[in-house]
Symmetry: C2
Subunit: 368 residues, 2 copies
Amino acid sequence: MMSSGPFILLDSARCRQNIARMEEKARTNGLVFRPHFKTHQSHAVGRWFREVGVNRITVSSAEMAGYFAKDGWNDITIAFPLSRFHVEAVNRLAENIHLNITFSSIRNMLDALPLISQNVGVLIEVDVGHHRTGVNISDTRQIALMVNQVAENPKLAFRGFIAHAGQSYSVTGEKNVLAIHNQAMGELVKLKSFWSQQYPEIVISYGDTPTCSLADDFWGVNEIRPGNFVFYDIMQHLIGSCSLDDIALALICPVVDVYPEREEAVVHCGAVHLSKDFVLFPESNRCYGLVCPYNGIRWGAPVEGAYVTSLSQEHGIISFGASGQPFPFHVGDLVAILPVHSCLTLDTMGEMVTESGEKISTMRSRKR
Amino acid sequence: MMSSGPFILLDSARCRQNIARMEEKARTNGLVFRPHFKTHQSHAVGRWFREVGVNRITVSSAEMAGYFAKDGWNDITIAFPLSRFHVEAVNRLAENIHLNITFSSIRNMLDALPLISQNVGVLIEVDVGHHRTGVNISDTRQIALMVNQVAENPKLAFRGFIAHAGQSYSVTGEKNVLAIHNQAMGELVKLKSFWSQQYPEIVISYGDTPTCSLADDFWGVNEIRPGNFVFYDIMQHLIGSCSLDDIALALICPVVDVYPEREEAVVHCGAVHLSKDFVLFPESNRCYGLVCPYNGIRWGAPVEGAYVTSLSQEHGIISFGASGQPFPFHVGDLVAILPVHSCLTLDTMGEMVTESGEKISTMRSRKR
């Protein structure tokens, strides 16, 4: 156990349950399950996916692809637009594994594609409403230009299209998430039916945790690649993707001082531990995490009315506003903070400990 | 050079200039200069302080004290309330170096003090208006209780008081920062004159980058311990602590796609690189960084009207709103992002490269 905290405690049973549930959903829908490994960035958690039959994965950088290739993963999609600065790493990796790279426009395709010297699969990213990266899905002309670029190059195999309906992160409730999902399905199924005439083997790859958690029907696509669901977090809970009992990690940290007169406690849990993503909750207050009791083994349900409302580099401020309740925190307690965005919390911390004391490192582990 | 970016480029000349300027200010004011090393967390940058005569430092954790002790620093203040969970590390360290520990109340003092087994110096944190941690400076009774606890224990030396006027981070302009500074000085000078009758050697330690950058008179204190000034950042620039030309680090990252029709470019620079602190600028828009051209050697002045307005895990969105100007970004460019909060950006990245290509590691460097 990392002696003193702050440290991330991973509930491995919940994590494996989250994995099993999503794998089952993919399988029963006849979908390829290519989970995004950017959330856990860990060989150990990756192996839990392998145990349920997963053998294709998604990552967000060439560096991350290399990290997982070292642990035997040999079919990897880098779901981030390739830039010329990462082609060398891609060429090296593609000597040894099946690698799919992504382009989000004819612009970055023309910039980086000529530098590819190995056999790789190519995915074209289409924008289904998130407006971050990707060709507008209705821009048939640009898509055709890109497909032709790939078709002309004997080293490249056109694999299909990749989409991320990330606008699902800015809504709450199953109904709103499903509205986004159904619109994306409607657009993607048209893309698929058009291009699969010429390329019958193409993949339509899709995936964000809200839609993949809440939808039961994926008629427009044949592959999903959610990532965050492996741990979930407060943001996902507020969107409606998970229950609080699905959240598989928490930051354990000491209460270093209490100020009951201003209804605050101070924890050793700052931006360098939790990261600074917040949700506006309750109402329009910034909430950086929910606070749970911790008995030295596991955490309990969140303390009602307790929120992490401020973070500096090492200090976290817990505000406690449950009227009529005694102030629940004491100096020397350990508490568990459920993070707003588990991907960033783990990325910042770099490692975790399971409930049985097993240390889990990641590609972001610190040297120490 | 870390090939592909994103990487942090450190302008070592600016950094050394920032160090020299603050050291000179401390010296000409007759103050002990005990810089906070949490910003750079680096042996190499620490040595630049040593070169200008600094031999006492501040850190924010026992772990960080251990990291700097390894590089020969032997007079270290941990400016974070000690909790029982870190006493063991403190005891180990105090066998070999002069260590000062901090308590922010009689509560955490009574919780952790009985576990101290080595000779250490003790500082009492007083709250001069930031309301994060510390005894209210007017709570004479609690302060006296704490001083007595220290005086009764032969292993402990009462070193004095520590204050952080962190409310200076939430104002802008020299006048407002100096108003906070002068109020803090007025309160601290009373504390000093009262307690120095009984303890003539006590230190009044003070320091935040805004007040230490902007004030020229520190009559209430005898030690300053700012940290962020070593690099500065956009937040400090907006407060008024520094000019843009004082900012000593930037994140170099590739432009992976451009969307001139929506006046946006996408860079490979996400929350896992830049961290998620933002300022509301211009007006009430979230700004995660300013965008500068980068010629492969150094960065230039920020591009007018260009701001990082959104960050996901790996993607950064630059919005460009300068009316009438041609869209200035192209796929395959490298650009430099001036961070909002340099402490967190370096903590997240874990290492830097100087303009001459020297790699600078920190205690947060990744294993890779």
